[in-house]
């Protein structure tokens, strides 16, 4: 089963073609890594799928639903969640509140229910706080639940972003450089966390990453982008020995 299908997706910024006729087919419940040199169009591709940019042409389909011309919040409600390359937490809010925001679409309380503090609303809020706490436990942040997000360490902030994304109850999770700036030990914990949440929440995970050890360890499928084009795709072994990939990373002549 394919979880997500892209066909001929193209995005231009002025004269620059950031993403050029990309075709992708992501398998259900798989872990896919997108790699490529800086400026290859990886994050742009994420932004196209999650609705932050509109593609100039091409189609993006999830479970037979087209994602084109939908707003980011609508796409989130269809079950796509993401983290950001340059952490975008709600800095002045606590870790737990950040996760509660992720639950936004699953809470039903309306204005009148809130103003009159109906029993239903109070119970729902309480249940949401417990669920949020449990998600914080999953990413090993439960002791920091009352801490403002800006006061967390870099690695903690990255994990909090994952917890917040999980709170939207996604079926596909996009991680944009989840290990950036982490030391080897933190990266190891993160790798375990990613495989753990895939099992626990039955997720399809797509990640952008520069840490090759993590990528080779974790992914079942690797897609290589360069200058906005897909230059290779396949299993980690295939990618490792693909001459075009080595060329893109190390430059011409490195292969021979």
């Amino acid at each position: 089963m394919t979880a997500l299908e892209l066909k001929g997706v193209t995005k231009q910024f002025g004269g620059l073609t950031a993403v050029n006729k990309i075709d992708l087919s992501i398998k259900d419940n798989s872990i896919t890594a997108i790699i490529g040199p800086n400026g290859a169009g990886k994050t742009t591709l994420f932004n196209l799928i999650t609705g932050i940019y509109k593609p100039d042409s091409g189609s993006i389909v999830m479970n037979e639903t087209s994602l084109i011309n939908r707003k980011p919040n609508q796409i989130a409600n269809l079950g796509i969640a993401r983290t950001f390359q340059n952490i975008r937490l709600f800095k002045e809010m606590t870790a737990l509140e950040n996760v509660l925001i992720g639950m936004h679409s699953h809470l039903t309380s309306g204005l009148l229910g809130t103003l009159f503090q109906l029993k239903r609303v109070r119970l729902e809020e309480k249940k949401a706080a417990i669920d949020a706490y449990e998600l914080l436990q999953t990413v090993h942040l439960s002791e920091k639940c009352n801490e403002r997000a800006k006061n967390l360490s870099y690695g903690e902030q990255r994990r909090l972003e994952i917890a917040r994304a999980l709170a939207t109850r996604p079926s596909i999770l996009f991680l944009d450089e989840p290990a950036a700036g982490m030391n080897p030990r933190e990266t190891k914990t993160l790798t375990d966390l990613i495989t753990h949440i895939r099992e626990k929440f039955n997720l399809t995970i797509i990640l952008i990453e520069h840490d090759m050890k993590l990528v080779m360890n974790i992914s079942e499928e690797i897609i290589v982008l360069d200058y906005g084009q897909k230059i290779a795709s396949g299993s980690p072994e295939e990618i490792r020995s693909n001459p075009r990939v080595i060329e893109a990373y190390l430059g011409k002549g490195a292969v021979s």
Binding site: K71, F90, E92, T94, G102, L115, I130, E143, C145, A167
Partner: protein, 413 residues
Amino acid sequence: MIRMNKGLDMLQKNRKLQFTLLLLFILLSSASVYFLERSVTAFLLLLGSLLLLHYTHLSKKIKWSIALILLVVIIPLATSGGTSQQDYMEVAVQTGIYIAMALGLNIVVGFAGLLDLGFVAFFAIGAYTYGIFASPQAATLFHSNIFPLGGAWFWPFIIIGGLIAALFGILLGIPVLRVKGDYLAIVTLGFGEIIRIVFNNLDKPINITNGAQGLSQIQQPELFGFTFSLASQFYYIVIAILLIVIIGVQRLENSKLGRSWKAIREDEIAAQAMGIPLVKTKLWAFALGASFSGMMGVVFSAKNMFVDPSSFTLIESITILVMVILGGMGSIPGVILGAAVISVLNLQILTEITNFLTQTINIPETLSPTKMQRLIFGVILVLIAVYRPKGLITAKTKQFDPKELADQTISDK
């Protein structure tokens, strides 16, 4: 020094001591308000007891009960001693009106992070809504003798005024919210002025607002044959509305809607990626903030029995914004304090200082402190920006009990 710290430490732990000291303070200040003839200092101290109450470590229920007793019983009683009761009450009523407006603006600026420089427009809309229908103006407008509506209509009009202001909040919001940040500030500033100028000129071709002359003979509120005419009577109306407003914003702050406002303030893109619809959430902020202002507009026009466009100038919007910034953006107790400080400063302290100065050293009128309102606001803003950028009382985050939550997650399984 060490001894003093020890004393403070003890005071912090000992709730009974806090309670006794607070009572003593209230007793002394209210007695001095009662016995001294027109003492602004004593009145300010009495109001200050509410601030003291905020800082005590008493339980929520006790705090609310003491605050209620203070507002409903002690303050009206204490001020009834001398001849200047109505002066005090006038200040209290205006302060209450400003507090409600500042709390409304706090939703827009403090929670949702949308800088609105034309907020007084919604106050004007509330005031004119009641003003038109409860004055002879409506009779000439609709050629009908059921107008002006009687004073009993004041009560439903509090809600109608709030709803119409909310509606205008949405109508203005739809085009305005396409722009962000500084641009939003400029566009709202423009809209605030447009509303005032429209009211100023809507006496032709059809006379709706009676133009610059304003609306007069607005009916005073009436309840079971009792007419509210004095400031000390309006005081109770204002307190009642204010309590509803305060409880309302407190509940909103930590609700689904309140959280999504803050999320939008912190990071729009991330908020949207979490499933929050931007436009709808921002419009709610505009509508709810405007409705508080609209309700108080109705009270304002009923109290003065007169409205004209000159009450709704840009400086009013700025004043309300200064209240929010001084108190602490997003902090409900802070905004209440900020609004109280600024309105008391405007209404009482500046005039008192002016009176004092003119009596003692006979300063020229152009130098009188009441004329320096803008200068003083400017200085306050600069000082706040430099020394307390988060306001007098910083906004707090909601704290959860990790132990309780942890227990619950285990018992779930």
